[in-house]
Symmetry: C2
Subunit: 156 residues, 2 copies
Amino acid sequence: MSLEPIKPTDSSIAAPEFIEPLCAIFRRALKADRLKYTPERAQILDTIIAFEGLFEADQLLDTLKSEGHSVSKATVYRTLKLLESAGIIQHVLFDREQSHYQLAIGQTGNTLLIDVNTGKAETITIPELIDIRNKVCASRGLKAEGHKLHIFVSKA
Amino acid sequence: MSLEPIKPTDSSIAAPEFIEPLCAIFRRALKADRLKYTPERAQILDTIIAFEGLFEADQLLDTLKSEGHSVSKATVYRTLKLLESAGIIQHVLFDREQSHYQLAIGQTGNTLLIDVNTGKAETITIPELIDIRNKVCASRGLKAEGHKLHIFVSKA
DNA sequence: GTCGGTGCAAATGCTTTGCATTGAT
DNA sequence: ATCAATGCAAAGCATTTGCACCGAC
């Protein structure tokens, strides 16, 4: 089980930052902390990328196992933390049961559209929101430090 | 330790629904399920009412104990569930650590202002939000089923 | 040979549950 | 008598951690 090399981005095409391969971002973040891009971490990230929308830790573990990768629960959780602090995934808390995660890269907004039937989520930006939020806070003598909007949706 | 009677609302004053004593609402909800308004449940509700903003289960338990009430952890959790299904308190999930709760009665909005320093929260309504939410969803062929907005604030 | 990474099993911490006992109607 | 409530301790469950071993530089 060898370490997969970084696929170099084709620099003759002006590649926007947000389509930089996630593994490259991860490698950079790891290197900055003198940590290693191991096969387990690569597999975990690959599996996450293949998910659409939300996923849970044990779902991730199951998928890894069913693909024949042997990764331990401990490593999954440890890697999720690394990915989170690298800004590659984010926690999404919308029920009390369990932590959910999703890719965070390339998603500028902090509004989540969560499909109540499928559990899939999409991150969007609602520009007006910042304004509204700031006005609401200002009128109460408060300063907005951040916000999170979750909209629960179904197919119309 | 005897059962505290309902304090009757002064019916000569037109009391708006939302200031109906919470214990009366609780009693009604319990009675509807043939459950009992016990001293423990009364104490738990009273203690919750005395809190401002968010609280955690073990905080509630500590407060009860320090006031000399002997209530078990199990009863606290069981009562929190009852209060939640009676619509008197609501779960507020804003970090992964623990469940937070707060009074839900009289709070029509589903926007939470959470003070990042004190952890206290206030529920407010932002009327425009529903409109914005619906427009965003409609433009994607989705139907909004509900939403939750958390704004993290500090004193300006 | 020093560090970090991994897997396993044990530990943690919040929450729930089984059970025997108690109290209300 | 019946039916629900309580306290306690044990169980559950997601997540974390301690430790021994392994591999890269």
